[in-house]
């Protein structure tokens, strides 16, 4: 029983935090979030050079051959910095399907390929259909609310093929497939609508293998978001504490008032509990433990709620300033809300957990 990170893993965290603090300080958040692309494209080759895009990719494909625990550290730190590039999309959402093809893994590791997952969501108006055309596949249909759709090199598409749901790869070229970037509340992770009109695709996994990959992808995505949420909550807490120490009213720092300090203490407690759940889920995924699915659900719903509450309390502690556009807090809050909205509601996750423990 050892719930601690190795010295190498601690080193990775230190490296990640210092790189992100230097390159993406809070002061740059607004500029990046309101830029046309919503992210700093120059960052991607750097992330690849740092070994982050290939952390869990085998060494044979140019990766570091590490595990999801290392990726977990990166996710948490990216959340803390509110990094806006397609790391979550590429490494959490697309990578399990890309693993079907070693050449694609090599491109992710080298930083040459970013990708996201285009799948049916409850809000989608039409599923995507895949049909065979001699030796190639063609996709037709629409995937909605696709993370980072506007700027990735490729889409992993969950589409209905002749044998059921399969996973296909559609690389973006000549503005195809069509992408409409939606005006997303979280400007640092925009959603898009992707329309396929007989676009070329490559089959990555057919049914029933695809179902296994889809389930694994979901576990990874939920856990990655739980870790990001922990990073978001930690930063919101740090901002709240900093403000409560320096802002004086009635002759004392407001953090001396328990109505303020106890709110922040609650944020600390919830963030630590969320962190424990998120690390547990990450370890379960890295070790392919049977509990991974429940752990991922528990971690995501708990951490998302904790991050939303952490941001709401931090906004309250900041008073009027916390409510302004100029203060960075609202960007963290919007990411927390984005995370909470992903996949299914907290209540739906808890219903899954209830089925597992109560039956019925």
């Amino acid at each position: 029983m050892d719930f601690s990170f190795s010295p190498e893993q601690d080193q990775l965290r230190v490296q990640a935090r210092s790189f992100l603090e230097k390159r993406y300080p809070l002061a740059r958040l607004a500029e990046i979030a309101t830029s046309p692309d919503g992210w700093d494209r120059a960052s991607w080759p750097e992330l690849a050079r740092l070994g982050w895009t290939g952390a869990s990719i085998p060494e044979a494909q140019g990766g570091a051959g590490l595990s999801f625990v290392e990726e977990a550290i990166v996710f948490e730190e990216l959340g803390r910095a509110l990094y806006s590039g397609p790391y979550f999309s590429t490494v959490a959402l697309a990578l399990p399907a890309l693993a079907c093809a070693p050449d694609l893994l090599a491109r992710v590791a080298s930083g040459a390929l970013t990708a996201t997952l285009a799948s049916a969501t409850q809000a989608s108006v039409a599923a995507v259909e895949a049909r065979r055309d001699r030796d190639r596949w063609l996709l037709r249909g629409e995937a909605d609310l696709v993370p980072d759709a506007g700027w990735v090199d490729a889409f992993v598409v969950q589409a209905r093929g002749p044998d059921g749901i399969g996973l296909y790869l559609a690389e973006r070229h000549d503005a195809r497939p069509l992408v409409r970037v939606l005006d997303t509340v979280d400007g640092t992770r925009r959603l898009g609508r992707v329309t396929f009109k007989d676009d070329d695709a490559r089959l990555l996994a057919a049914a029933p293998a695809a179902a296994t990959i889809i389930a694994a992808t979901r576990r990874r995505a939920l856990t990655a978001l739980a870790l990001e949420a922990v990073g978001v909550a930690s930063q919101a807490l740090a901002l709240g504490v900093e403000h409560a120490k320096s802002r004086e009213q009635f002759g004392r720092p407001i953090g001396a008032y328990q109505a303020v300090s106890h709110k922040l203490a609650d944020t600390y407690v919830e963030t630590e509990l969320a962190r424990s759940l998120a690390y547990w889920a990450a370890w379960c995924i890295a070790e392919d433990e049977g509990q991974a699915e429940l752990a991922a659900s528990a971690a995501k719903t708990y951490a998302a709620e904790a991050a939303v509450a952490a941001c709401e309390r931090a906004i309250q502690v900041h008073g009027g300033m916390g409510f302004t556009w100029d203060h960075p807090l609202h960007r963290y809050y919007k990411r927390a809300l984005w995370i909470e909205s992903f996949d299914r509601s907290g209540a739906a996750h808890r219903a899954e957990i209830a089925r597992a423990i109560l039956g019925g």
Binding site: F3, F5, Q258, A265, S276
Partner: protein
């Protein structure tokens, strides 16, 4: 990072589990507290058995009769005990608080005199810290400790002392000097509970039982050699006691919560299987339990690295107490009016008792308000609120 037991821990766990199956006295199975006189009668024998099997003082150094094991063994021990619904050693105050304090601050003769009998449960200890006028503000204690010739004389009143009615010795924090900084005039003594002038009165609590006591000290003579630390240096000694209170305490709490969640799940399956709102609340409690459990494991890793309990102990106590209150409340809601009847020993009586008892959880061993102050000030570095 490996959340599985290592081979040695797994072996320790398996041996302990088998040992518990055959050694927990039938009268102590499904243990609900020492306030039950029938349980108490079995308590010393049970504690002796634990000690003989080597399960008392697992983390104490070998030179003092402990097993000298890393903290993780204590964690496994507490988990398995909770899982078996077996009581802890009757001398938890001695093992978890007085003993480590004596190891840290005691003289060799004090260690020789007290430690072995704590392990064997020959002597049961209680704690004399809180007073009617001093709860959360512990440094304001007023029980007088005066050095008269070659002995101390103690006068005053202590309260909320678990085990005092059966205790042989008491760790007492009293005031030896007035005026000046209130933390500085404190003195820490070991008091023989059989001394003339010590009177123990049980306090009947919200459940109708008496787990706690008041202790009255009237001109109680305490030999000079019973001083722990220095005269006037009692605060530092008391802080050692309190830091140990929350060392691996979290594991006992999570273990107890694990049992409670399992019982809640059984209750909900039986009586509220399809109620979506109940299912949602049960799932929340299950998630909170996992959060608490893995926070304990993280705390354990820190404790083994640094030897000092981290702030996670406060986190665990705070969240456990609130979780236990919510959970027991949910149980009596599921049961409905039947839970208003205390008769019998079925589920309604069990949960009625647990729910009322849980109201003490956010008060005992550091109120939730004090724990939030500790987190705000010591962890987050916010300014003192007073």
């Amino acid at each position: 990072m490996d959340l599985r037991d290592g081979p040695e821990e797994a072996a320790f766990r398996a041996t302990l589990r088998t040992w518990l199956e055959t050694n927990v006295p039938s009268g102590l199975r499904g243990f609900r507290g020492w306030s039950d006189p029938a349980a108490l009668a079995l308590g010393r024998d049970w504690s002796r058995r634990l000690a003989q099997a080597g399960y008392a003082g697992l983390t104490w150094p070998k030179e003092y009769g402990g097993a000298g094991q890393p903290w993780r063994y204590q964690a496994v021990y507490l988990e398995e005990l909770a899982k078996a619904e077996a009581p802890q050693h009757l001398g938890v105050i001695g093992l978890g608080m007085a003993g480590p304090t004596i190891i840290g601050h005691g003289r060799p003769d004090q260690k020789a005199r007290y430690l072995a009998k704590i392990l064997s449960a020959e002597e049961i200890w209680c704690q004399g810290f809180s007073e009617p006028g001093s709860g959360s503000d512990l440094a304001s204690v007023r029980t007088r400790v005066e050095l008269v010739g070659d002995r101390f004389v103690v006068n005053g009143q202590k309260v909320w002392s678990s085990y005092a009615h059966i205790a042989d010795r008491c760790i007492l924090l009293g005031r030896s000097a007035t005026g000046g900084e209130k933390h500085e005039g404190l003195t820490y003594l070991v008091v023989d509970m059989k001394s003339p002038g010590v009177e123990v009165r049980p306090l009947r609590q919200i459940t109708g039982e008496a787990e706690f006591n008041e202790i009255f000290f009237t001109d109680v003579a305490v030999p000079k050699e019973n001083l722990l630390g220095e005269v006037g240096g009692g605060w530092r000694v008391a802080m050692t006691t309190l830091s140990h209170e929350r060392g691996t305490f979290g594991f006992a709490l999570a273990g107890a919560l694990d049992v409670a969640v399992r019982k809640l799940v059984a209750l909900a399956r039986e009586r509220a299987g399809n109620d979506a709102l109940v299912r949602d609340r049960v799932a929340r409690e299950w998630i909170d339990l996992q959060a608490l459990r893995y926070t304990n494991y993280r705390a354990l890793a820190g404790l083994e690295r640094t030897g000092v309990p981290g702030p996670e102990g406060s986190v665990a106590k705070l969240r456990w107490s609130e979780a236990n209150q919510r959970l027991t409340k949910l149980a009596i809601e599921i049961i409905g009016r039947e839970a208003q009847v205390g008769e019998g020993d079925g589920a309604p009586a069990y949960w009625r008792h647990q729910q009322l008892r849980s109201r003490g959880n956010t008060i005992e061993a550091g109120t939730s308000e004090i724990l939030r102050n500790i987190i705000a000030e010591r962890v987050l570095g916010l300014p003192r609120s007073r």
